[in-house]
């Protein structure tokens, strides 16, 4: 290989390095930039771009990520296909009922796993590049992951919605679809924040996987993804009504069935009263804000 950097041909004997050094300076050192700055945007977009390049060159994540919810929908839908009409609320069939649950659960699963690649970066030492850099805010790491997962979720959601339509679930109206996207973005940002918080707090990927493992399915079963609230025993109704996933699932399910929806429409009869679509959105936004605030001290930690 002739590419070895040989001293005699090293270009710095010439005044090149001096010239290079005196060329226009590095980043702006005068004022460390904050969260709402061009610098934050620049670093966030750069990290996001990296994730998309990875996806483009290793598309198996995307392929598996689209196939998995479709299998869920198909198999789970078939499992309860013969359930008597009316058992699942207003839905005309279980597939229609299930679609909202699968959409939310898929987005949630993706966001919950968002910390894993960052944990591997941390273990391989790549994360140190970000940690020693003068980032405007380490929230750029969170936001970059969230943008990536959100984009992935939207592709998955499109696939689920399309397959459900073929299975006879129909389509939400366009504005309803926009609201579905908004709900998913809020959920993904909040859960991604929590997952990255865990990544900064836990010692390694084994521990992170363990936490993901014990969180994932219980949160699914303790939500209205698979059965309606009034189907559950009383105590589980309470748990499911505290589960943020329920507040994402029920509005989407409602949007599917009611083209005449409004923010005031009641979408959930919780043990402590009826909850409107608007309240669900507020709960999700509140959850997201709390998650983002809660991880702030973890992001500030100095880890190597």
């Amino acid at each position: 290989m002739s590419t070895t950097l040989t001293p005699k041909s090293s270009p710095i004997d010439s005044p090149d390095l001096r010239a290079w050094k005196s060329a226009s300076g590095g980043g702006d050192t005068s004022q460390p930039p904050g969260l709402l700055s061009g610098a934050f945007l620049q670093e966030t977009l750069a990290m996001t771009r990296r994730l998309f390049i990875q996806l483009q060159r290793r598309p198996s994540t995307l392929v598996a990520g689209v196939i998995q919810p479709l299998i869920w929908l198909f198999l789970f839908g078939a499992l309860f296909q013969n359930v008597p009409q009316g058992l699942f609320g207003e839905s005309s069939n279980y597939g229609q009922f299930l679609a909202a649950g699968i959409i939310v659960f898929t987005a949630f699963g993706g966001a919950l796993n968002a910390g894993l690649p960052v944990m591997f970066d941390r273990e391989f030492g790549f994360l140190n590049r970000f940690l020693v850099a003068p980032l405007a805010s380490r929230y750029s790491i969170v936001v970059a992951s969230a943008i990536f997962i959100a984009a992935l979720s939207i592709v998955q959601t499109a696939a689920v919605i399309t397959l459900s339509a073929f299975l006879g679930a129909g389509w939400p109206d366009p504005l309803g679809l926009a609201l579905v996207v908004l709900i998913l973005l809020t959920l993904v940002l909040g859960v991604t924040a929590l997952s990255l918080g865990l990544t900064f707090a836990l010692p390694g990927h084994i521990e992170l996987i363990a936490v993901i493992f014990v969180t994932n399915l219980p949160l699914l079963f303790a939500s209205t993804a698979l059965v309606p609230l009034d189907f559950m025993p009383g105590w589980l109704q309470v748990v499911a009504s505290l589960n943020p996933l329920t507040y994402a699932i029920e509005p989407i399910r409602y949007l599917y069935l009611h083209p005449d929806w409004s923010l005031g429409s009641v979408v959930l009869q919780s043990p402590w009263g009826s909850i409107s679509l608007g309240v669900c959105l507020a709960v999700l936004i509140g959850f997201c804000a709390i998650a983002l605030l809660a991880i702030q001290p973890l992001l500030r930690r100095r880890i190597a």
């Binding site: 950097l5 390095l17 850099a133 003068p134 010692p203 930690r301």
Partner: protein, 341 residues
């Protein structure tokens, strides 16, 4: 002008392990400073604290007069950090990683558009810049790592064991490159457990052992401080034990000889510490001849940094390395370090 790097009474423990007990260093702008010590001496922990990857338990660290603890963002902007293990994203190309690095240091696009190709040229990565880094050799990876660390033109470049695991050619290229960086005004801090590396590169050295600085100064000062010259002598290529011992007794009686050690690891060669005087070599040869012993090889040299380490700790760096093998649990240390704070 404040020192480029100031470390005062640094202390850092991981769990029950006191990685750094008491380290103080002052590094002047534009010098190459070497932190020398065996594995496990506390070099990397010191560097981690300096580069804001770990919080000191106590002590003060400043870069250009700015505290890295109180004002980490300013410190990070002035620092370039090259870790011991090259961590690259194997899926991205060299050029893509350089662009990522430019963006996380907030280099404006119109500047990075010119500077990235310059760095690629400078480190002779042209043929490889658009290939995935997963296909790179060890030497290439290190060069890309240097390019990444230098892209934002840091005032202080910190390199942790820059040549461990590199082939000889890349190693000498890295040395050359660091000298040229210094010539261009960059302050360089390297850690190493290679004596020659520090001796060849560093303007000033601190020797660190067990988390404590045991000697600091220019390599020459340190060598002068322990005094005496070294004579390495071989009677035969492989000298029998009894012959080596009788020569040892005989030579120890010479008035200018301070100490005679038999180095069994090197075929029973004799290592003499002598008072610096011009005819020491001749006198030793003369005495050997009178005793009827031959001389296979003989050379005189100034003390090395290893002798400095030996004088301070009572063991050679090599011994320290060997002693450390098996007593360190690297996996556990890594876990402890990852727990952070």
């Amino acid at each position: 002008m404040p020192p480029a790097v100031l470390i005062e009474k640094l202390k850092k423990s991981y769990g029950s392990v006191e990685a750094v007990k008491d380290v103080s260093l002052t590094i002047q702008p534009g010098e190459i400073f070497g932190l020398l010590g065996p594995n496990g001496a506390g070099k990397t922990t010191t560097i981690r604290c300096l580069c804001t990857l770990a919080s000191p338990d106590s002590g003060n660290i400043e870069i250009n007069g700015t505290s890295v603890v109180d004002d980490p963002k300013v410190a990070r902007q002035s620092l370039g950090y090259i870790a011991q293990e090259v961590a690259l994203d194997p899926v991205l190309t060299g050029r893509e990683l350089l662009q990522l690095q430019a963006d996380i240091y907030h280099i404006p696009r119109k500047v990075s558009r010119d500077r990235i190709p310059q760095m690629i040229d400078l480190l002779e990565l042209t043929d490889w810049a658009d290939k995935k880094t997963g296909t790179y050799s060890g030497g290439l990876k290190k060069r890309l790592d240097l390019a990444l660390g230098l892209l934002h033109q840091p005032e202080v470049l910190v390199l942790d064991e820059p040549t461990v695991g590199l082939d000889i050619e890349t190693r000498s290229a890295v040395w050359q490159f660091l000298r040229q960086l210094k010539a261009a005004g960059t302050t360089v801090l390297i850690t190493s457990h290679y004596l020659e590396e520090v001796d060849a590169l560093a303007d000033r050295v601190a020797i660190i052992d067990n988390g404590v600085v045991i000697a600091a100064g220019t390599p020459n000062e340190l060598k002068d401080r322990i005094g005496g010259d070294r004579i390495t002598l071989r009677i035969r290529e492989f000298t029998p034990d009894d012959e080596a011992r009788s020569a040892q007794e005989m030579l120890a009686r010479l008035p200018f000889v301070q100490e005679v050690i038999i180095n069994s690891a090197q075929g029973n060669s004799l290592n003499l510490v002598v008072e610096p005087q011009s005819d020491a070599l001749l006198s030793v040869q003369q005495s050997l001849k009178e005793a009827g012993l031959s001389t296979f090889g003989i050379s005189q040299s100034r003390p090395s940094l290893d002798d400095v380490y030996l004088a301070a700790t009572g063991r050679t760096l090599m011994d320290a390395e060997l002693a450390a093998v098996g007593t360190r649990n690297l996996k556990k240390e890594r876990k402890e370090a990852m727990k952070g704070t």
